[in-house]
Every structure is written in C-alpha cells, then in structure tokens.
Symmetry: C2
Subunit: 206 residues, 2 copies
C-alpha cells in the first residue's frame, strides 16, 4: 500500500529531481541533504524526511547516490507511466508548453495541439502538429487520450471545455483565468499562475 | 497584526476571486459558499473557513455580497499594492506571460521584456517593449524594479540569473527547469509546472 503524498512533498521531490539531473550532467556521484536544502532554501531535516518517504533511496556514507535517489523519485512519482495529453489553444502559452523541455522526462507526453485559427492549423512545433479543433473529438477517441491542457483565452475557455468533455476528456489542466463548470466525473486542475505568484509575495513582502 | 495565510488559502482565495469576477460580469449580486465550493469541487465548510479569515466579507442573508467579498479578497491579498516586474526571455513563454490578462488586476505589472535575440529586441507585445538584455542593469536601477520573471531556457538560466542579481533584482520567479544558485538575500520562487501537474496525477491516477 502506498501512502498518498502531499502536494508539497510532490512539489519538493520534483525540485530534488531537477537538482539531481543537474548533478548527473556535471558527473557528481553523491549528494547530501544540506546540499539539496541549500539550493532550495529549505531545512535539511525536511529534505531527509521527504527522502525517507521513498523506497530504496541509496543512502551511503557520503550522502545519497545521485543516480539511485533520482531513480527512487522517478519510481515514486510514476515517471515511467507515460500520460498522453493534447494542448488545446496554440497561442504563445500553448506553444511554450509544447516546446517545454521538462515534461517528457517526467512522463507527460504532448501528442498534438489544437486551435481554431486556420493560420495555425498544419504548423508543427517540437514535432507536434497543430490540428483544427474540429478534429479533436475523433482524435481523442482514436488515441484514447483523457488529458487536455487548456491554453485558450479565458473568454473561450468554458465553450472549449464543453467540447473537450463531450469528446471524452476526463482531466483538464486549466491555464485559462476562467473557473470551468464541469460534470462530476471530470477533474479540473486550475493552474493558478497569479495564485502561485501571490503565495510568493503576500506573506513575504507585507 | 495580520496572520500569515497558508499557500493553499492564498491559492483558493485567488480562485474565489476569479469566480466573483465572473459573477460580476454576469450581473449576479450574491453568492453562497456551496456555489463556490461546487465550482471548485471543495467542501463548502472549507470555503466558509477561508472567507472567515478575511475582514469584512459582506455576509448577508442570501450568502455573500459578490462585490464586498471580491473587495475583501483584494484587500487581504494586497492587489492594490502594485508590484512591478520585468520578464527576462521573450520566447513563447515570456510573450504568453506578457499577454496574460490575469496579472494586472492582481497587482502584478509587467513593465518590459528582455532578450538577447536581435530579432526580438524592439518588438512590443501588449504595450510592453522587448529590450536587449544589456539594458537590464540600467533599467533595473532607474526604475527600481526588484522582481524578475525568468523565462529563458534552462541551459541559460543560471548565467542570466547571475546578471539579474548583479543588477539588483531581489526576487526571481523562475519558470526555467534549472534550480538556481543564488546568494542568501535573493529569493527564488520555482514555478515548478511539472510538479504542479504531478500533484494532479500522482495520487489520483495510481
């Protein structure tokens, strides 16, 4: 039985993973909890506590084995279970996410983009093609995709979300500023960028 | 004395604010906690608890006054204290954030963008100009800007962050996949997009 990990732990484990990837790039074999803690400005005891939640984290005398710890995080967070998704809205944000170099290694594969702008349809970015939104219902069914990343302007978001849901999408990662109304079987994750920014500023700058 | 608000509360209050903005657009005057809770799929008791943290939330017989509640959230989260920032990196992500319609109403004003690509320098998006990165030290000092939104590729992020810090930037909202090494007086907020995605999938799909 796996214990559910809190959102904060998942967030920190992903950041540890980024640090480990950097260490591997530099050929460094071991890492200590104070090193990780120093880079993220958190407590080393917090880092050790998080790492204890992983199975087989490769503890050794001089800290943790970078490779083992990286593998443990990947296993715990399920990076090997690739999740396929569509990006809906091929504006700057959709294109930025399609190009983002940090999704595929974490098990999120963007298959294609969709837009209603004829000037964008047929373009490709990072080997991902932009299809007309009218193709979405058919491709969702044929490719059995259940996740959509919604990057359309807020004023169109509900209308597009309705189409996604009719097409069989079950999970919407919502980057628009609109709060979507969806049926109970559909899950929405609001990527609340301004909320993230305010978390950074409200308590710190006041 | 203000109590510090937890990150989760700040995040939810921002989402409530988006809902209230939508209600105002539709001319609806009152809202109940179950209505808010239903849209966000959280407990109504949680919504009431969060709203109790605000001063003067305009409780009335038929729920909350939409306008009063919106104002209370704005006051509590300090939307009127505008924070000015630069976007560094005028690629798709930088441009998307420069165009994002949901920052200014929440007190985050993007003054300008910076890039080292001569093809981008001089362009303007959403009335914000792209300057060459070499202008950053001077403009940071003259405009007294302390916040930078870092949207360069991970492989350049540390080098650019070093320049930001030398220029007097104190807060870096880091959208790159790189974990930055910064001196103690500089604060970094890692916008860990893949971590946010994993929070959505790890416990739910396993």
């Amino acid at each position: 039985m796996k214990t559910a990990l809190s959102d904060k732990v998942i967030n920190r484990l992903t950041l540890y993973h980024s640090i480990l990837t950097g260490y591997i790039g530099k050929g460094i074999e071991n890492i200590t909890s104070p090193q990780i803690a120093g880079l993220l400005k958190v407590d080393a005891s917090q880092v050790r506590k998080d790492i204890k939640l992983l199975n087989n984290a490769g503890i050794c005398k001089v800290g943790y084995s970078v490779k083992e710890l990286k593998k443990s995080i990947e296993k715990t967070l399920g990076f090997e279970n690739t999740k396929e998704a569509f990006i809906v809205g091929a504006g700057n944000l959709g294109l930025a996410l399609a190009k983002y170099d940090n999704f595929a290694p974490y098990g999120l594969e963007i298959l294609a983009l969709f837009d209603n702008d004829p000037l964008k349809v047929g373009l490709a970015t990072n080997n991902k093609q932009v299809f007309h939104i009218s193709k979405l219902p058919d491709l969702t069914e044929r490719l059995n995709v259940s996740i959509a990343v919604l990057t359309v302007p807020g004023s169109f978001a509900q209308e597009v979300a309705d189409l996604l849901i009719e097409s069989g999408i079950k999970y919407i990662w919502n980057f628009s500023s609109c709060i979507l109304e969806v049926p109970p079987e559909v899950q929405v994750w609001n990527e609340n960028l301004i909320g993230n920014f305010l978390q950074f500023t409200v308590n710190r700058n006041s």
